[in-house]
């Protein structure tokens, strides 16, 4: 690393980027090898050593205490105190320092705001300020853009440029090629824990992707135009609370037709999870109706919803999608273990389960040592394939996939995407929720953008990214403000069959 350099660390999920950086930050101890700072070998026994050596880190999952104020979070661990051993907090001095640093680097934060009340973009800014008040020279940003809207990402890139101008070095960990090309001075690509090459930002996206995955990949989803049929899923006036009894879904109307993919875009935490869980009968509805093929299914148990022909890929596979300790074969029949040919009366039939597992493993290219291996030992991509295989093994009317490729390697992403499109082409209605905008754009025939529990707009897949990004930030073209108003697309409704859906 050079001073004032932005060094991108590029690699697939699970390639070892975050582990490497956690070692650098002293959270993990290296088994072998050493770290050199200014030519001196550095031994890090913990994060405090790293901070002392001038290394700061912004973690992928923010390290902020939600019920503390911005100032409290920033002072934690390096508190300004007075009163000797009693150690009374000197909040005034801490606030002044926060204000000073945020002004110097043009990172506006309110020192007295509660973290839990702040949007993620601002929380991230707090993280950066936190590192800067500790006088770091090297800042590690671990997947900083994963939770941001495109606009917030732009803001972040601006901040990174100004930090660079101030002589700070930045390690930028990501798997998003566009951002790397936009900002990095140097790129190191990591695959399976090894450096496989360095590249300059002038390298093309395809070159970088090939380096990352180890072979050429297609970055777009091949598909023919959709031929939508009758409405299959109709959601009207849906209102749902989250676990804290806070309104999460606030009057959503949606229609998904047979043979089309409706994508729900939006920054995470805008009610997508609760919407899907309500449709699946996993969460009580406070108001509204859910209709499947003309039949009201709200109030049904999840089992009944599944039996009615709904396939469901939950967003967190390790919690909701799989029983990790169970074998691959058992996980493949979790939905129908009690039905023939797998179950008869009170007993289940292991041979039938094993036979069907073998078939599915082949069909869905699940890489596992055996059908009897615990599913938890598989890689993320292969676990996801097990879920997809299970859900697509029933005759479906509706297929719901939430974050279908989160934490999944590029090869598996390709495969899962093609399966989703294949399902669409046989006439199933498909609902895809993803916080990856590229994934939604690639898969969907229509895109619904969710913001604060509402569908803020429904647009066609050809809508410019920027416009969808604005919607994700809650800015609609008709409520101009400082947003560049693009009048086509949203206001007039998407071209083609979805146009009856006006935005909610």
């Amino acid at each position: 690393m050079e001073p004032g350099e932005i060094h991108a660390l590029l690699g697939e999920n699970g390639a070892g980027k975050s582990t490497l950086m956690n070692v650098l930050y002293g959270l993990y101890q290296p088994d072998e090898g050493e770290i050199l700072v200014d030519g001196e070998p550095l031994k890090l026994r913990g994060p405090s050593d790293a901070i002392a050596a001038g290394i700061g880190m912004v973690h992928q999952h923010f390290m902020l205490v939600p019920v503390f104020t911005v100032t409290e979070n920033i002072m934690l661990g390096a508190e300004q105190v007075r009163g000797g051993i009693a150690g009374f907090l000197d909040r005034r001095r801490a606030r002044r320092e926060v204000a000073e640093v945020s002004q110097r680097y043009n990172l506006r934060v309110d020192p007295d705001a509660m973290i839990e009340d702040l949007p993620v973009g601002i929380q991230q800014r707090v993280e950066i300020v936190k590192a800067l008040t500790r006088d770091v020279d090297l800042l590690i940003l671990d997947e900083p853009t994963a939770v941001l809207t495109p606009q917030e990402t732009e803001d972040l890139l601006t901040v990174m440029r100004s930090l660079k101008a101030a002589g700070k070095s930045i390690v930028f960990i990501t798997h998003k090629l566009g951002e790397v090309k936009a900002i990095a001075d140097r790129i190191t690509v990591i695959r399976r824990g090894r450096t496989v090459g360095t590249a300059s930002p002038q390298a093309s996206r395809d070159e970088l992707a090939a380096l990352m995955v180890g072979r050429t990949v297609r970055l777009t989803v091949d598909k023919t135009p959709a031929t939508p049929g009758e409405p299959v899923l109709e959601v009207a006036g849906l209102v749902v609370d989250d676990d804290r009894q806070v309104r999460a879904v606030d009057g959503v109307d949606l229609t998904v037709r047979a043979g089309e993919v409706l994508g729900i875009a939006g920054v995470q935490g805008n009610g997508q999870t609760e919407l899907i869980e309500a449709i699946m009968g996993l969460r009580p509805l406070l108001a509204g109706t859910v209709t499947l093929d003309g039949q009201r299914i709200d109030g049904w148990s999840t089992k009944k919803v599944l039996r009615a022909g709904v396939g469901y890929v939950p967003e967190d596979r390790s919690v909701d999608g799989l029983v990790k300790e169970f074998s691959v074969a058992e996980n493949l029949v979790l939905d129908i273990y009690d039905r023939p040919p797998f179950g008869r009366g009170l007993s289940i039939r292991p041979d039938a389960i094993a036979r069907s597992a073998k078939e599915r493993i082949e069909q869905f290219d699940v890489r596992t040592s055996s059908a009897q291996a615990p599913v938890g030992t598989l890689s993320g991509g292969n676990q996801q394939k097990v879920i997809v295989a299970r859900e697509l093994s029933r005759p479906l009317k509706l297929f719901i996939a939430a974050q279908p490729t989160r934490g999944v390697d590029v090869g598996s992403i390709e495969f899962i995407h093609s399966r989703i499109i294949r399902e669409r082409d046989v006439g199933t209605a498909v609902l895809v929720v993803s916080s990856e905008l590229d994934e939604v754009i690639g898969l969907a025939d229509r895109i619904a953008v969710m913001y604060r529990g509402q569908i803020i707009g429904i647009v066609g897949p050809d809508t410019p990214r920027e416009e969808i990004g604005l919607l994700m930030a809650g800015i609609t073209p008709d409520s101009t403000g400082d947003a560049p108003a693009t009048t086509d697309g949203v206001a007039s409704g998407p071209e083609g069959p979805g146009s009856k859906d006006e935005k909610a």
Binding site: N22, H59, V65, P66, F68, N73, D117, P119, V246, G481
Partner: protein
């Protein structure tokens, strides 16, 4: 591009907000007080004396009039809540309504008491309230320290019991109250140390561990009580007692003076500890770190806070405090008996939750439970028409109502009960 700041969306609860529901309950209580208590009260005077006996200055009211009057106040508080009430007025109005209900009840009870006994000595009531609340205050402070740093402390009962036992044992052997006090603190922290090691190091489920420790403390003290104390009470169970210290000037305040400032060291210690811990928790470095460890240990760790070390320290400190709380029995009031804490540790746990994990909140909750306890004692003494069994139930009934009904939605520290595993 400026992203509009996200404000927290207001939650629309519909017509039946929490305030309205509570208002409805108050309305029902008020009606009960006005009609039932008013009818049952006699025309005798109900006297609330400022001294310890029937003589002296007193507040007096005709029983029937008082019961109806205070019942109407409760009714009014309920009605105000049913109509619209600004949020900041919720707690004061609720307090007025409940206090009036209790007063209405007392007017009935006191006026209906047998002749010569129809007075209520306020000094005794206040003093008794504090006395009965003492172990609860110490216990819930121990809970605050543990749970604020992320360790669930169900073992308060065991810590109190161990403290009471070792205070009695070593106080008797040495003949010194101070040795007894130190021994009590060590006894309590011994139980705490076990809790810390098993829940922090060996990641045993903290609730299960707490219950096991309660049983362990009960077993050890019970066994040693039978083997040592019963056979040779003279030597092993006759600890010296702290005498009452009168604080000049303050002890001359009417009612509060004799009740609060002629107490023993434990009373003063409890009040000071509440204050010190409250200030320390919210205003010092130690407090900030403790709370961060209880809310988001990973964040604390990445900033160089020693999560496990801090948890160990706080849990052991909590044990010492609870141990001293146990000694407030054996080094001031009674000699040790088997299972003498008798569930107070669990009430302390309730006080902790009722007090929303804050030291001053825990103090108020403990006093509330202490008052219920004291009231039951008093009503028994004046031969109340309410059967003694129901009176004995009063503190626990108050606990259930308080924790379930009045607390509303409280948030425990986010990492409470979750072991921290590095990496």
């Amino acid at each position: 591009m400026a992203v509009p700041d996200v404000a927290v969306a207001a939650v629309d609860e519909g017509y039946w907000t929490r305030t309205r529901k509570v208002g409805l309950v108050l309305l029902a209580l008020g009606l009960l007080a006005t009609v039932l208590f008013g009818a049952l009260a006699t025309g005798e005077q109900a006297r609330f004396t400022l001294s310890e006996n029937a003589a002296g200055a007193a507040l007096e009211v005709n029983g029937t009039v008082g019961a109806i009057l205070f019942g109407l106040i409760t009714l009014a508080a309920g009605a105000v809540m049913l109509a619209r009430l600004p949020k900041r007025w919720f707690i004061p109005v609720l307090a007025v309504g409940l206090v009036a209900f209790v007063l209405s009840f007392l007017c009935w009870q006191v006026s209906a008491a047998p002749d010569g006994q129809n007075f209520m000595p306020l000094v005794n009531i206040v003093r008794g309230t504090f006395l009965l609340a003492l172990p609860l205050i110490f216990g819930s402070l121990a809970g605050v320290l543990c749970e604020r740093s992320g360790v669930v402390n169900v073992a308060i009962e065991g810590q109190l019991l161990m403290g009471a036992f070792s205070g009695a044992l070593f106080g008797s052997i040495s003949g010194s109250v101070w040795v007894g006090l130190v021994a009590a603190a060590i006894g309590g922290s011994f139980i705490s140390l076990l809790l810390a090691v098993f829940s922090i190091k060996y990641l045993v489920d903290q609730v299960v561990m707490g219950i096991v420790l309660n049983l362990l403390a009960l077993g050890i003290t019970g066994f040693l009580y039978e083997r040592l104390m019963q056979t040779n009470a003279e030597r092993y169970n006759s600890a010296p007692r702290f005498s009452n210290w009168e604080i000049p000037l303050l002890s001359d305040i009417p009612v509060l003076g004799p009740a609060l400032f002629r107490g023993n060291i434990f009373l003063y210690l409890a009040l000071v500890l509440v204050l010190v811990i409250h200030i320390a928790l919210f205003r010092t470095r130690w407090g900030l770190r403790t709370r961060s460890v209880g809310e988001h240990p990973t964040a604390a760790d990445t900033l160089g806070v020693k999560v496990l070390g801090l948890r160990y320290r706080n849990v052991i400190m909590a044990g010492a405090i609870a141990g001293i709380g146990g000694a407030s029995y054996t080094l001031a009031l009674f000699s040790f008996t088997k299972n003498m804490i008798g569930g107070k540790g669990f009430i302390a746990l309730a006080a902790l939750i009722f007090g929303r994990w804050s030291p001053t909140g825990a103090l108020l909750a403990a006093l509330f439970f202490g008052f219920a306890d004291q009231l039951a004692t008093y009503l028994g003494a004046i031969n109340s028409v309410i059967p003694g069994q129901f009176l004995a139930m009063l503190p626990y009934l108050a606990t259930i109502l308080a924790v379930a009904g009045l607390v509303g939605r409280v948030r425990a520290p986010a990492a409470d009960g979750k072991p921290y595993i590095k990496g």
